[in-house]
């Protein structure tokens, strides 16, 4: 059978997805699998991770590795077991809604630990240990918060994502010597378990969604599709870019 022309295909690529047991990471893993990739998934919750693993195409060489990326030992162990990668999507993250006057060092440390130090350390080791192949693509899931949008109560979270966006650009410059591309995605509010924790009520979320020009919050697949573009050969000449996917919110 003749192959269909598809520059977005991930056929034959091995892709690591972190935070794959839930939300954007889960959807990204599933869609990468559907696009032909061998998918390595990692997350903290073994049961939920296994559910995602079962949704990946059985014919591909998929791997599931339980790890808590905030633990140095787990990150080292993960990297040691990692096959050579054509791409990685760093989705593991957390959020908090907290006015700055309550943003103690402890709260900042907690948020930076998950959203900045964990993906940074994983990225560092993947590159240093040459787990990322030449020409590999790195996708960091950041946020419009902290760089494109500054909503009250989002400072602690936004600052951690801004830091991630910042190293994305440095890494893009430094890793270009191995033709490794590094980009980020800056989503607006995406309908995942993360936003349904009760600090903001469901009514307030529904009201907030109306402020998005395209009339709704994002769905995990809206972000997964951006990640597929950044992972695929279609974006071969793109690096150091923060791709805003936010239904027009930050315009």
């Amino acid at each position: 059978m003749e192959k269909t022309f598809n520059p977005f295909s991930l056929e034959g690529k091995t892709i690591l997805v972190t935070g794959a047991s839930s939300g954007i990471g889960r959807e990204t893993a599933i869609e990468c699998g559907a696009m032909g990739a061998n998918v390595v998934i990692t997350g903290r919750n073994a049961e939920r991770l296994n559910e995602v693993y079962d949704l990946l195409p059985a014919a591909s060489a998929n791997v599931q590795l339980v790890a808590d990326l905030t633990l140095a030992g787990d990150v080292e162990g993960l990297v040691a077991q990692m096959p050579q990668l054509d791409g990685v999507v760093m989705c593991a993250g957390n959020s908090t809604t907290l006015p700055l006057q309550f943003g103690t060092r402890e709260k900042f440390d907690e948020m930076f630990g998950v959203n900045f130090f964990a993906p940074m350390e994983l990225l560092r080791l993947l590159y240093k240990k040459k787990v990322l192949k030449k020409g590999a693509s790195v996708v960091l899931i950041a946020s419009i918060g902290g760089t494109h949008s500054f909503m009250p109560g989002n400072g602690v979270y936004g600052a951690s994502k801004a830091a991630l966006n910042s190293v994305m650009k440095y890494a893009a410059r430094e890793f270009a010597s191995r033709r490794v591309r590094v980009n980020s995605i800056c989503p607006g509010m995406v309908d995942t378990p993360l936003i349904h924790r009760g600090t903001i009520t469901e009514e307030q979320l529904a009201e907030d969604a109306k402020r998005y020009p395209l009339g709704r919050y994002g769905q995990p697949e809206d972000i997964a599709h951006g990640a597929i573009y950044l992972l695929s050969d279609a974006s071969s000449w793109l690096t150091g870019h923060d791709l805003v996917i936010d239904g027009g919110f930050s315009i």
Binding site: L98, P99, G153, T201
Partner: protein, 76 residues
Amino acid sequence: MNITEFIENFAAQFDDTDEALFTPETKFKQLDEWSSLTALSVIAMVDDEYDVIIKGNDIINSETIKDLYDVIEKQL
């Protein structure tokens, strides 16, 4: 925790509202200065001062300061 101290902590989240307006019976969401950011500050203050996690709905469902106080006291 007592109601007087709670009202002081509650009032501290406001900048322009006369302190005399804060009583157990105050319908706080009717105060001119009340906003979604004040709500977030109250939630954070309760976590800080009383180690109790309240939710947005606890605020929505409380009419007076005393109502909210009762919600927190139950979780102490």
